[in-house]
């Protein structure tokens, strides 16, 4: 059973954002958590280059980058051949939270979308959620990313179960008490389209 405590020492985080002050703010918040190993990429291409060379335990990315969207970067991450990159927890920060934008980020395989300005408690809860909620990865023709099905009801009529079906314990996941309902509503139970 995970305790209330979190040990951020040695956690390697990649921040992807070209807004100097937003990065500074985020870096301060993460330092407050005890997460001191931070790398910063200002563009999507720079992030790709760092991800090719390094190993990151957490990626925090602004939704709009100068050269690409977070969704584009996410799709690249989720298709990567290196599993450390491919399965890395990604939290996307966005200031302008139009539904279509949040949906596109979710559908690109983000773990969480956090609305800016980022409150330390909200960020901490979302990191904790990404770290401590057991979520298998789903790969389909049109989606690669963390499983978004939090409530597993079992196969229809209890029959037809395959080895690849979700184990029942996936349904045990609990969400933190988050304050950004409008975004999280888009990340709550949703059937992944399976072709």
């Amino acid at each position: 059973m995970a305790s209330d405590r979190m040990n951020f020492a040695g956690v390697n985080c990649l921040i992807v954002d070209n807004d100097t002050f937003a990065v500074r703010l985020l870096a301060q918040i993460l330092r407050g958590f005890g997460l001191n190993t931070q790398s910063v990429a200002e563009t999507g291409e720079e992030a790709k280059s760092l991800l090719e060379r390094g190993s990151f335990d957490l990626i925090i990315c602004e939704a709009l980058l100068p050269d690409m969207s977070a969704a584009e970067l996410l799709r690249w991450i989720r298709k990567h051949s290196n599993s450390t990159v491919k399965f890395a927890p990604v939290i996307v920060l966005t200031g302008y939270t139009q539904t279509s934008k949040v949906t596109s980020i979710r559908d690109a395989g983000a773990h969480n979308v956090v609305k800016k300005p980022v409150a330390p408690v909200v960020l901490l809860d979302h990191i904790g959620w990404a770290a401590r909620t057991p979520r298998p990865f789903v790969e389909t023709a049109n989606y690669a990313g963390p499983d978004r099905r939090f409530k597993y009801a079992g196969p229809p009529d209890g029959i037809g179960r395959r080895d690849t079906d979700l184990p029942p314990e996936v349904g045990q996941a609990t969400e933190p008490n988050m304050s950004q309902d409008e975004i999280d509503a888009l990340l709550k139970p949703n059937k992944v389209t399976v072709l």
Partner: protein, 170 residues
């Protein structure tokens, strides 16, 4: 029949790291992070003023019309302002900046390229910038409601959410 999807049970490295011995409690982490943010309040307030000046510089007084690219740049810079105004509790500046975002988004949607409505918003942002003389709540309310009338006049009010309380515009 072969399933056209794959389920991969991944070892959660981040979870393993966070669950190690030691570390800090949620309350401690949040308190420390808030203190770290407070440490940069002064420089952030200065940056807020610079960001507003940067927005003003985008729209010279003689400019009657704006381009789509310029409006995109206004949105980008407004986003930076929202980060700081929201973080450091400049509520009125936050409201006006969100109104600016709604306005520009609405203008882009409708193909309106007038500079004046944007300029009026920038003046209002100046009124609520850090270090500006404080306005009474009635005065502040009057400014924001006038901005609201501009949005209504131009048809730039953000679309109402499908479900109450389920959408945010900016």
């Amino acid at each position: 029949m072969t399933a056209k999807w794959k389920l991969v049970h991944v070892r959660n490295r981040l979870g393993d790291l966070l669950n190690r011995e030691g570390g800090i409690s949620r309350e401690e982490a949040v308190t420390r992070a808030e203190a770290m943010v407070e440490d940069i309040r002064e420089s952030s307030e200065c940056e807020l003023r610079n960001q507003i000046a940067g927005l003003e510089a985008l729209l010279p007084r003689t400019t009657a019309n704006v381009t789509e690219d310029l409006m995109a740049e206004v949105l980008r810079q407004a986003d930076c302002i929202l980060t700081l105004s929201g973080t450091f509790g400049f509520a009125a500046l936050d409201i006006v900046t969100k109104s600016l975002c709604d306005l520009v988004e609405g203008m882009l949607r409708q193909g309106i390229f007038a500079a004046d409505p944007i300029r009026v918003h920038l003046r209002a942002m100046r009124l609520f910038a850090p270090g500006a003389p404080s306005l009474s709540s009635e005065e502040a309310e009057s400014v924001t409601s006038e901005l609201g009338r501009i949005l209504t006049h131009l048809g730039c009010r953000p679309a109402q959410p499908a479900e109450p309380g389920k959408a945010a515009a900016c």
